[in-house]
Amino acid sequence: MQATSHATHHDPTHADSHHEELGFWRKYIFSTDHKVIGFQYLLTALVFLLIGFLLIGLMRWQLAYPGRAIPIGGALMEKMLGSDMVGKEAVTGKVGVIMPDLYNSFGAMHGTIMVFLAIVPLAFGAFGNFVTPLQIGAPDMAFPRLNMASYWAYFYGGVVMLVSFFVPGGAAKSGWTSYSPLASVADAQYAVNGQTLWIIGMVLLITSSLLGAVNFITTIIQLRAKGMTWMRMPFFVWAQFVTGFLLLLAFPPLEAAGIMQLMDNVLDTSFFLPTGMVVSGKVADISGGGSPLLWQHFFWFLGHPEVYVLILPAMGIVAEIISNNTRRPLWGYKTLVYSVLCIGFLSFIVWAHHMYLTGMGTKISTFFQTTTMMISIPSVFILTCFFISLWGGSIRFNTPMLFALAFLPMFGIGGLTGLPLGFNATDIYLHDTYYVIGHFHYVVAPGTIFGLLAGIYYWFPKATGRFMNEFLGKIHFVFSLIFMNAVFLPMFVQGMAGMSRRMYDGGATYSLQNTPEAIGALNALVIKHNISITHAAIGLGLAQIPFIINFFWSMFAGKRVTSDNPWEATTLEWSTPTPPPHGNFLKEPAAYRGPYEYSAPGAATDFTPQFQAEKP
């Protein structure tokens, strides 16, 4: 930042400004410093989080008020996306109705953007990059240039995804899961369609994650400081370690599947297309012989480990913050470590619980039901350890801690509502309803996102040398908590009433009013929830404004930290200068004890950092 402001203050000659610019590019854009790359991930991913949110906002409008034009920006959207995508209101002629194809595109891209371009890059790319090397006492990642390459692969993956909105036919529209044959049939009249770009974008994102995973795991294995034994690693590092393995091993099969789907779309193969497939009343001109189920297996072989990629880093963050703010050691550190390793292994053998209704067979379903119940056990262990850690602590209720505390019950709700989905019998009813949407959003939105926000508030002082504003932070917290629940709680009700998750008109077609004779038609109250949810979603969006202001304002004008360890924490990242320079540590760091020595009996202060040498 300094380099640019410097250049604008003086009146530089041409050559001079060129020189300054080079410095800026190397330092902030094509940097190999893990902290700068972490920041790049953070900012890019937050932008994608916002884009993903806007997409779903528009969809929610259509669900609440089917066929009505969006209140603002309708004409602009029509100009950008065309009149096939953005239509006119039947009665008033007002421009700005989200057409079915656009609704489908938004749905697919909301999921894709949120999972692959927002949450994973935040949890793994941003926090993993910034915090992991600091916490293990490393000068940087093991392969700094590879690290830069990961970021740019991610960036271009994102660009491809965004560009896909503007090709003929629009962005991918077959769900974030891109099930074949639908994904091969939609927009097949265009040589390069949204689905093709989706696959290309995914291949870039997968490449980014794979390079990142290799880098993280190597860093953790090789670059731990002196004395930083495995069992002295902060829980956050363990979470990142397991996350790395999940990405490393679960993503390649999806890459293979992506290649095969690309061949189906471009070279007319039939990997996922069955014999005798009929499209629009005509038998498709293909060899056939493929298997649609095969795609689903590959997708969920990634998809399920991916949900743990989403949640484990957040758990790691929450662990750090809870221990720091209760001023007590994390309860059951070893249990936590073994649980997270268990989750890592088990998450590779539960994937087909997303496929109970595909007719893959009852024996297979039973197997996956069993493994699914098994994996919920270590998850419960982790949550229980966190709750017990609170017991009897004198808790500091600062903003990071509030978010970390809210994570616990929110993740709890998300996890518990997963159990009925894991049982074959109950899932037959609940599958593909709003109940599923409620379940996973409780885990990812008020769960993971709260964890990530907690992390931003917590590590901000280390990254910038300034605190974020507590008052704005608390406003952000309170309203986010209220609106998150107002958005997602009613979804369980809608789902149990039988509302399907992919209906363009919010269920109006199947309402009691329109089809009184149908069994299971949706009553007016269930449909009305659409409106309240949409309003709450708007509220949730507004509640992020204090955060955005706080983030940028505090970066330049927040309260300065007076020490390198403002939270009086115990882990190694707090021993560096603030903000940490390139290379991180001034002298070779070492860990002398475990990561959570708070309130140790006989110690002078209520925290004994890992980096504090033993008294001779």
Partner: protein, 267 residues
């Protein structure tokens, strides 16, 4: 602070960074090819007919030998460096790269043969395989309509009605006479391209992905052989490590082929 263990092994793990990195990378590669092999199995189980005997086994065997040779020479190249013999390194690495090029050359000839080899399905339910007069590339039944052809001159290769297990009866004397097949008798026509069947789809996907690995690997090895070898003068230990890493990757590429060959050519 410099990043530690870039060329010296870390005492407790016994490995330098890049070696950990390459093993992790290879683990993900195993998953990548593993997924494709699983697809092969599932597609084959689900298929009504699984074509056999369509690939040229002698050529495949020869290519296998070429790759195995290159795997041996890449180890010799690394061992030469360990024994401080740079000219020998140049020699063995050179042979490795030549083997890679030979493999790719042979593979592309195989591909070319497939692109001009046709199967035609006739109205009466039979099918013929062979060549179209003029040896065109990549035709299918839609090409005939686009070119407004009402018939093709077809030279059967003697494998009538190629059904599973049925290798067909060869014509005495080898060459069958060219026959004229009317467009109206043809229900489907396809070269041996990915769209022909799930068999060729998976064959081309697996071998093309493998070929990409060969290309990538040989580019890296060629760099170490050429401009990259300057590092031998400045940092021999690191350079030797690089060759080791490159060699590990090369072995993996070789190993994949050793699975591919029997699965696609023999079984």
């Amino acid at each position: 602070m410099d990043i530690p263990y870039t060329s010296k092994p870390r005492p407790d793990t016994g490995l330098y960074n890049a070696k950990v990195g390459i093993w992790l990378f290879l683990a993900s590669e195993v998953m990548l090819f593993g997924a494709l092999f699983s697809s092969y199995i599932l597609l084959r189980i689900g298929a009504d007919v699984w074509p056999q005997g369509l690939l040229n086994i002698p050529i495949g065997t020869f290519n296998t030998a070429v790759l195995i040779t290159s795997s041996v020479t890449v180890v010799m190249a690394w061992a030469s460096l360990k024994m401080n013999n740079f000219p020998k390194f140049k020699l063995y690495m050179g042979i490795t790269i030549l083997c890679a090029l030979a493999f790719l050359g042979i593979k592309s000839i195989e591909y070319k043969d497939k692109f001009t080899h046709y199967q035609v399905w006739l109205k009466d339910g039979t099918t013929l395989t062979g060549h179209i007069a003029g040896n065109p590339y990549f035709w299918n039944h839609n090409t005939l309509d686009k070119k407004k052809l009402d018939h093709i001159e077809f030279t059967s290769d003697g494998k009538h009605d190629a059904k599973a297990g049925d290798k067909g009866q060869s014509h005495p004397g080898g060459h069958a006479p060219a026959v004229k097949i009317e467009r109206k008798d043809i229900t489907r026509l396809s070269a041996y391209v990915p769209a022909h069947s799930t068999y060729f789809a998976i064959y081309f996907t697996l071998t093309a992905l493998h070929a990409l690995h060969v290309i990538g690997g040989s580019l890296v090895l060629a760099f170490f052989w050429g401009p990259g070898s300057k590092m031998w003068k400045t940092d021999p230990e690191r350079f030797t490590n690089r060759i080791e890493i490159g060699g590990l990757f090369w072995h993996f590429v070789d190993l994949v082929w050793i699975f591919l060959f029997p699965v696609l050519y023999l079984l």
